[in-house]
Symmetry: D2
């Protein structure tokens, strides 16, 4: 079961959170994860992926324009896939959840199934997705890993079959 | 396959759109739909439903406080179900999509899988869900029916089995 | 009293609404309005302007990436000015108000005073700003003019002096 | 110059942030501030106030339904006043900025002039308003005070006259 993580990162913070999410996903069996920058997308991998996670830094209170450009112009077939988000902000109140919501809007327009686990699986809550201040403190980093784990489990639950679950 | 529609309606406009969505869903085989007001929820039906659609009028530019109260206080088990939205506004620019986005936020927090079909199934587009001005003109009413049809089809696709599909 | 309108337009629809807003503003005395594309900004005019109105088309359910790029990268001194928005969408439910809200977010981060008149001046309501489907039908076009009129009047009210009011 | 703070608080966290904002406002001369719960609003004071600050806890990822009910049903004359927001969430990524944006939407519909200072006055940034985790750590509490100070200064700048400035 393939899962793609597509991120925009300049400072490296968002890439670092992407790496934590990827790491958490590998706790689940039968999942193959690939994290890639919006500048170096592996189209074939995304095409085959059942879930795609998007992440970007917050600029001017919402998603970075580079990430918006990606959503506005991509031809990747995203419809029907599970879609999830994360964001990195410079401070509390910087707009992490607003940026996530703007990505979610684009993903719904593209026909994705949007999922975050929210508060449904207990602590730590990931309301719209994993938010971190810069690359995240220890708790935020572990939350990103747990977020990855939950997404991977949901992907398997939706589309995995018995044989794949080893 | 059960699908619930939960709406808040005072003037009857939102109930009328709910009825159009319900009507469109019945175009799909093996789907049992029940539309209910937030004041008269059939808890057992919602518990069994695989998908739940929420709709409300727009007050002060976003979801009605009654619908927000529902989301803030409900104990219904919504996690893991498909979640969809619609809204009725009094005029273009009244906040239909903002209200939908605020409902979607609450639904993600509750652990739902949010889906709208967006632009992925061609015209008519239902970006975040079906929006209507008051009860909707002919085109908006038919769009609500098509929206219902798409949601029902996706629900069957995700959780239906061969035997259920007659 | 200078007022700038900055828009992103590809098809010409958003420019057309900008022109209607500009036209409405000229109904008010002592106002000098200039509408300009984000590609051809008159920096000096914007610097002197007391109010700046921003408008763009809706892409993927929110503001166009080009408009987001403008907000993310501009060095124009916007703080303290009145800020207003408008948007053009292709259909009802396309995300006009979501796009407006994302622009408003960026404008607040830049320190602007955001204003729309909303429902406070009676019909036609302009909740977050003027929304039009494509270039707007007659009603939407006139609403754009009235929106312009209200913004111009508010700008004079806040910063005009007796001598300027002729 | 009167400034009102209207908050919804159950645990006391939001009231505590309101108190910090009030405290910061008193650093500015000629400002009279009153903080009040949505259950005990001093209508006369609000009517006379030039600025009103609204704050609430985040429920299900956005503003509390009680605060939404206030905005949907109030008859208070808010049009033309400066409007500002703050929010308290239980954790980073809980929806502080989404809740602020939903309040801002309602305030624009009511005809207010929305302001936050954003990033325009340097650190600490208050993008859409002051957000705190629960009652806020030391930094968040001081930021709330600075936010109050900035709002009070802007209110004086807009509507104060020389004689008032002592």
């Amino acid at each position: 079961m393939k899962i793609a993580i597509i991120y925009h990162s300049v400072s490296g913070n968002t890439r670092s959170v992407a790496e934590n999410i990827r790491s958490g996903m590998t706790r689940i069996d039968n999942v193959e994860v690939k994290a890639m920058s919006i500048d170096e997308i592996d189209d074939d991998f995304v095409r085959d992926a059942k879930a795609v996670v998007f992440g970007c830094p917050i600029y001017a209170g919402s998603l970075s324009w580079q990430m918006k450009k990606f959503f506005d112009t991509t031809n990747l077939p995203l419809a029907g896939k599970l879609g999830c988000v994360f964001a990195t902000a410079n401070h509390l109140g910087g707009g992490g959840t607003v940026g996530e919501l703007t990505m979610i809007t684009a993903m719904l327009v593209r026909g994705m199934l949007v999922y975050s686990a929210g508060a449904a699986e207990g602590q730590p809550y990931t309301h719209l997705g994993a938010v971190a201040i810069k690359a995240g403190d220890d708790w935020q980093q572990e939350r990103a890993r747990i977020f990855g784990e939950r997404i991977a489990r949901k992907t398997i639950e939706l589309w995995g079959d018995a044989s794949e679950k080893s």
